[in-house]
Amino acid sequence: MSAITYADVNKDILQTMVRPKPAYFLVLSGAALMLLIGVLSLAIQIDTGMGLVGVTHPIGWGFYITNFVFWIGIGHAGTLISAVLFLTRAPWRNPIYRASEAMTVFAVMTAGLFPLIHVGRNWYAYFLLPYPNQRMLWTNFKSPLEWDVFAVTTYLSISVTFFIIGLIPDFAAMRDSSVGIRRQIFTLMAAGWTNSYQHWLHYMRGYLILAALSTPLVFSVHSIVSFDFAMSFMPGWHTTIFPPYFVAGAIFSGMAMVLTIIIPLRSIFGLEKYVTHHVLQSSARLILFTSFIVGYAYTTEVFIAWYSGVSFERSLFYFRLFGEFADRTPYSEGHQLGAPTLAFWVMYFCNVISPLPLWRFKIRNNLMALFIISILINIGMWFERYNIIVSSLQRDFDPFTWGTYWPTVIETGVTVGSFGFFFTMFFLFVRAMPSMAIAELKEGLPAPRKNKQAH
């Protein structure tokens, strides 16, 4: 990177906010269209009621909770990259950490909507929060669902803080290079940053402390999401490997989403010299590693279900893998291979098999291959959550409470809308703020000298 100067960094990063290529508007309008579908579906659902949604007894959790877990998972890579990789001194994080942090914030925002959408009567959403009231009504603190409320709000507030603190020096750079109303806005947001030694000293201290505070959150949030399932005694939900397995899965899906976003971003805005192949390769290696962890977890779950000898565990995993037992199908409704079986094998293929080519250096170095694999992983991780949530609810202990689930158009519309919401927010962010950290990029460059030939 010796050819790049400090001035180039400012120029290249700030130009992403001035004149994007037409491809940008094409992508943005696609995302906005998806968002519109979601908003319309949600409006119809709120107007008519929860009857429009496929969830009913015995399957109380369907697409919405799947989406919730999926988006929370996506929101993990940002903090991992910005905090954990900062603490472990992995410099390849510098070019991608800003975009992934933004991704985290938007993904957690998207995720946070789903419990509210799912419970219906959205105007009572504040019931989720414990607050002193005259009727002495309190939330159930013993419920993992309530722990989730705390975990997700804590995570959201810390990631937003981390995100904004990281942006301050860059806001100052934008302030210095803009005029008019933009300059006034950025002056406000830069919070009086002058690049002085004192500012940097305190900034780096604060950043380190925030990184240390966020690191446990990377683990806690998805662990607590996994408790929603693991604390019950449902076969397929209650299993001790869930917390680390969910955390690894979240990092896995988050890293895949980072690649899904970064690869187009770098080519639309011409940032190839910053997001180098080394950066993408390191991300690919992290994906390979976490893919192995989720593969290990899938296999262990199936193995222990068999090893346990408990008939409920065994039959549930048989159901997940191969569908109904041929001779016991009180509610089979004609089809042997149900949606859970499909979900299981999609999940297994996308999350365990499809990342395997990344063992090859050539594949890790191939942008198209990386992009396709990252998309496959996103699909696979969505189906993983669907598989966990729906298949266990379909086959409870008592065959009397067995059932099937099929999503409705409304649920699908809201799901599409969530992707629209996320991508719209993200692409607006790219226009409004520097999508790469200007100051951190400069850390990797040789310092400017008077004598240009010196180095």
Binding site: M231, F242, P243, P244, Y296, W306
Partner: protein
């Protein structure tokens, strides 16, 4: 570099050799006495516990090398040779595992004589013996290749700088390395490049093999002691605990290694600080695993799973106080102790912390193994008498004997490693 080779190689002093050999002898005698005087169950129990503990440290030492190789971490390089030195105990561990698999099985595993009908397909002797022999030969075989690939260029370089380095043992190690890795280049620098490329390929393979085989070990040697119980997290919990123990052991050993002249230039205070920080991270990871494991079991209270926890943590058993004390020793103590920058940067202090953590992890292994066996009896008691203590002494002696004998033939630092450098920017 030459100075370090000549002055700073670890040498086992004759009187220490005698002491360590005496420890091994005492342990052996205690085991034989236990088996022959009607205390067979306790003797085998102590053997199993120690094999898992010391064998776990030996294998996890290799894994630290693997982690540094895969992550390209430069700070860890000066520790590499010492961590991999723990692997000198692997052959002994293999013998002990074979002893348990082939001879001790009926004393330890209730399924050998009273199997559960539904688990017979997995828990039966022929399958148990064959899968473990395959698993161990796979893991130890790949480890051997990995270790030799990291050691060979070092020995070549050492011998070109100091002729005859390592003596007869050095000759044997070189012969073994040549046999395993083909003869390769004559120039140490070129050979280092060739074997570095080889290590890059072997390291991830060994990582994958390690997790799979150690999960099998956790299921077969620990989980199946109580054949009704099962838990999906147990394998991970087990090997994370092993790596945690090994890091704590590194804190102790590196304190002594650093005393050797010239080593402190490479193993700087900053790097010791990094080692302490990694230990802290693993302490937190281990605590997280423990918490997740027990919270889920406790909350759901499923009849097949809960007894494991009730026996250890809730019921009026002799193990209850140990369980809760361990939480303090292995979580709160390192949490507060290793959080302090001053402690982390004082090697003598981290050595003390490391000692306490190793003892704590030993007791944690004890809590995994012993209650499952003793709970079969009418009135289970907390057993820590002469069979346990003496057998442990024997294993400790054997472990350090193997370690020191190995270290006396190899350079103390991985001198041919491309990432080995003196303190750079204070790191």
């Amino acid at each position: 570099m030459k100075d370090i080779l000549q002055q700073s190689t670890l040498q086992l002093k004759p009187n220490w050799k005698m002491i360590l050999l005496a420890m091994v002898g005492v342990g052996l005698l205690a085991f034989i006495a236990g088996v022959s005087t009607g205390n067979a169950e306790r003797a085998w129990e102590a053997l199993l516990l120690n094999t898992l503990f010391w064998g776990g440290i030996a294998q996890a030492g290799v894994m630290l090398g693997v982690i540094w190789q895969i992550t390209d971490a430069k700070w860890g390089r000066p520790f590499k040779r010492v961590a991999e030195g723990f692997a000198a105990f692997l052959p002994a561990a293999l013998v002990m595992f074979l002893l348990i698999i082939l001879v001790g099985n009926s004393y330890l595993f209730e399924w050998v004589e009273h199997p559960m009908e539904v688990k017979k397909a997995y828990l039966n002797l022929p399958f148990f013996i064959s899968r473990n022999i395959i698993g161990f030969s796979l893991m130890y075989g790949i480890s051997m290749f990995f270790l030799m690939a990291s050691l060979k260029p070092d020995l070549m370089l050492a011998r070109s700088l100091v002729p005859g380095f390592g003596g007869k043992m050095g000759d044997r190690v070189m012969a073994l390395a040549n046999k395993l890795l083909k003869n390769g280049e004559q120039d140490p620098a070129k050979e280092a490049i060739r074997l570095e490329a080889f290590s890059r390929k072997v390291a991830p393979l060994l990582g994958v093999t390690y997790t799979i085989v150690m999960t099998m070990v956790a299921v077969d040697f620990v989980m199946s002691l109580d054949q009704e119980w099962f838990s999906t997290l147990f394998g991970v919990y087990f090997f994370v605990g092993n790596i945690y123990t090994t890091l704590a052991m590194m804190l102790i050993v590196m304190y002594f290694v650093r005393q050797k002249p010239g080593v402190a230039e490479y193993v700087t205070i900053n790097r010791m600080h990094d080692l302490a920080k990694l230990t802290f991270a693993f302490a937190m990871l281990w605590t997280y695993m423990t918490f997740a494991h027990y919270l889920i079991i406790w909350y759901a209270n499923v009849p097949e799973e809960t007894p494991f926890m009730v026996t250890r943590a809730w019921a009026d058993t002799p193990w209850r106080p140990v369980f809760w004390t361990l939480l303090g020793v292995l979580f709160i103590f390192p949490y507060l102790g290793l959080m302090s920058r001053t402690v982390c940067r004082t090697p003598a202090a981290t050595a003390v912390v490391g000692t306490i953590l190793v003892c704590g992890q030993f007791m944690s292994h004890y809590m995994m193994v012993v209650p499952s066996i003793q709970d079969r009896h009418e009135h289970p008691t907390f057993l820590m008498g002469y069979p346990e203590i003496l057998v442990t002494l024997g294993f400790a002696g054997g472990f350090f004997l193997c370690f020191m004998l190995y270290m006396s033939t190899v350079p103390i630092l991985p001198i041919s490693d491309k990432h080995l450098c003196k303190s750079w920017h204070g790191r």
